[in-house]
Amino acid sequence: MNLNDFLSTNSKSIPPSAIRRFFDLANEMRGQVISLSIGEPDFVTPIDIREAGIRSLEQGNTHYSPNQGFIELREAISDYMKRRFQLRYDASHEILVTVGGSEAIDLFVRAVVNPGDEVIIPEPCFVSYKSCVLLAGGIPVTIPCRQEDDFKLRPEQLQAALTPRTKLVFLGFPNNPTGAVLEKNEVEALAEVLRNQPVLVLADELYAELTYEPASHCSIAAVPGMRDRTVIINGFSKAFAMTGWRIGFACGPQELIGAMNKIHQYAIMSSPTTAQEAALVALRDGENHVVAMREEYNRRRRYVVQACRDAGLACFEPLGAFYVFPDIRPTGMTSSAFCEAFLSEEKVAIVPGNAFGDCGEGFVRISYAASMENIIKAMQRLKAFVGRCIQHD
C-alpha cells in the first residue's frame, strides 16, 4: 500500500520549500552559528505577562474557553484597535481569538475561497499565504514587489492582477521579509483600485506595532469603504514577544468573522486559556514593553542597514518589522548559494530571499531579532565574506 496515493490533491499541491537544502544545513550547524535567520523576537515575553500565565495556571484555569475567546479579552482587543488604529470592532461579533495569526489567515481563506477563485498575493511575503490558498483549492496570483519601489505594492500592479475571478487580496505590511511599510496615501491608492471591485482584503498586520520613524502603520480598514470587506489579522507574537503562546486574533465584519468562527469551533475549539489570560495583561499593561523593544529593534535596524551598505550591498531602508533585505546580486551568486557559503564559511545563518517567493531571488533576509553583540559580530563577518565574493569575480 503506497500511502502517498492516499494524500489529497490539495495537500500534494503545496510545493516543497525552495530552500530545503539550506534548512537542512542550518539545522545541522545549529548551536555553532550566529542565527540572524529567525522570524521571531529574541526577547522573552515580558515578566508581568508571563506571571499572568502562571497565575492563570495556579488558579486552575485549565478548561476550554468560549470558541470566540474570553469576552474580556475580546473587549480588550476592541479597545486596543480603537486606541491604536482608530478602528471600531464589536467585541461580541466582530472579533475572533485564534491560535496565532497563522490560524486566522487559514480560517479566513477557507471561509471565503472556492476552488478556482483567484487570490492576489504580493511577494516576497510570509510563507503561509500561498499554501493556505492552495489548500483551499484557490489559485494564487502573485505580484512581485520590487526593490525599485521600496518593495511596496503599486496600485497599477494591483489593477493589472485583478480579474473577474479575483476573490481576495492579501496585504502583508509591515512586511516579512522586506520590512516595507505602506504609508497612508499608498494604502488609499490601493483602496481606490479595489473600491469598485467585488473583492475582499486580508490585511496581515502582525507587525503593526513595529514601525520606525518616520513611518507608521496605516490599516487599509481605516480607509473609508474598506472596513466592511477587510479582515485584519493581528496577534501577540511579534509585538509582545509571545510566539510560543500561540495566540492571535482576527477583526472584521460579522458575516466573515462568523464564518471563520464556524470553522474554528470544529477545527480548534478555542485558543489556549493560559495564553488568553496572559494576552489580556499584555493589552492592558504591555505598552511600555512594546515601546522598549521597538527602541531596541530600531537601534539594531540602523546598525544592520549601515553595515550592509558598508559591506558593499545595496540595501533599501526598511521601516517596519525586524528584517533587512539587502541585494546580493553584485556577488554574482544565487541567494541560496550565498547563504549556504556564508553559513559554512562564516558561521552566520541568514535566509535566502527566494524562500519568500521567486521575486526574492537575489536578496537575503537578515533578521535583527538577535542580541546587539551577535549582530555586531555577524556584520563584521558579512563584510569580510562579501569582500571575498566580490573580489573573486
Binding site: 539550506f22 534548512f23 542550518a26 539545522n27 550547524m29 545549529r30 548551536g31 542565527s35 535567520s37 529567525i38 522570524g39 521571531e40 529574541d42 510570509f126 510563507v127 516579512n176 521579509p177 527602541e295 537601534r299 539594531r300 540602523r302 546598525y303 549601515q306 545563518a349 535566509v351 524562500a355 519568500f356 538577535a370 546587539m372 553583540e373 555586531i376
Partner: protein
C-alpha cells in the same frame, strides 16, 4: 529617552561599542556622540570601562566577601574619615555607608579565603573606630551588573523561522 541616557545605557551594556557604532544606532552625528561621551567622562558620570568577568569559570576561583563594619562615628567627621581609610586598601572593591544595623559595607573581590581573613583581622578590626565586623562570603553568583550568569548560552529558538 534622552540621547545622553541612551548612550549611557548602551555603554553600560557593552563598553566596547565605538562612538561610530553608537552614532549609527541612535541616529546622531559621530562628533556629537564623541563629545557627549567626553563630557560624561569629564563629569565623572562614566567612571571607567571594565570587563565583566565570571571568575568562577577560571582556575583561580577566588571568593567575594561582603564585610559589614560597625563604626563609632567621629566628632565632626561622621563616617567619612574612617571610610576613606578603608577605601585606601587596594583590596577594597566597593565601600558604602548603610542605613540599618551596621554602618559600612565593604566588598572584597577576587581574593582567597585566607586573604579575606587576614584583611579583616589585620587591617579592619584593629582600626580604633571599628566596633565590630561581620563577614559574609558569596557562594554563587547568579546575576551581576544586570547580567545573568546561569542563563542559556545557546539560542533556544529554532534554527530558521520564516
Amino acid at each position: 529617552m534622552e540621547k545622553r541616557e541612551e548612550i549611557l545605557n548602551l555603554l553600560e551594556r557593552n563598553a566596547k561599542l565605538t562612538a561610530a557604532e553608537i552614532a549609527v544606532m541612535i541616529d546622531r552625528p559621530v562628533e556629537e556622540v564623541e563629545a557627549t561621551i567626553a563630557s560624561l567622562e569629564n563629569a565623572n558620570i562614566i567612571l571607567g570601562y571594565r570587563a565583566l568577568v565570571n571568575w568562577e569559570k577560571t582556575v583561580a576561583a577566588p571568593v567575594t566577601a561582603l564585610i559589614e563594619v560597625r563604626v563609632a562615628p567621629q566628632r565632626d567627621q561622621g563616617f567619612d574619615n574612617i571610610a576613606q581609610r578603608i577605601c585606601r586598601f587596594p583590596q577594597v572593591k566597593d565601600c558604602y555607608l548603610m542605613s540599618g544595623s551596621f554602618d559600612l559595607m565593604v566588598i572584597i573581590e577576587d581574593a582567597s579565603l585566607k586573604d579575606v581573613a587576614m584583611f579583616v583581622s589585620e587591617k579592619i578590626a584593629p582600626l580604633e573606630a571599628v566596633i565590630s565586623t561581620g563577614t559574609h562570603f558569596i557562594l554563587k553568583k547568579y546575576k551581576m551588573n544586570g547580567t545573568e550568569f546561569f542563563g542559556q548560552d545557546d539560542d533556544p529558538r529554532e534554527a530558521v523561522i520564516l
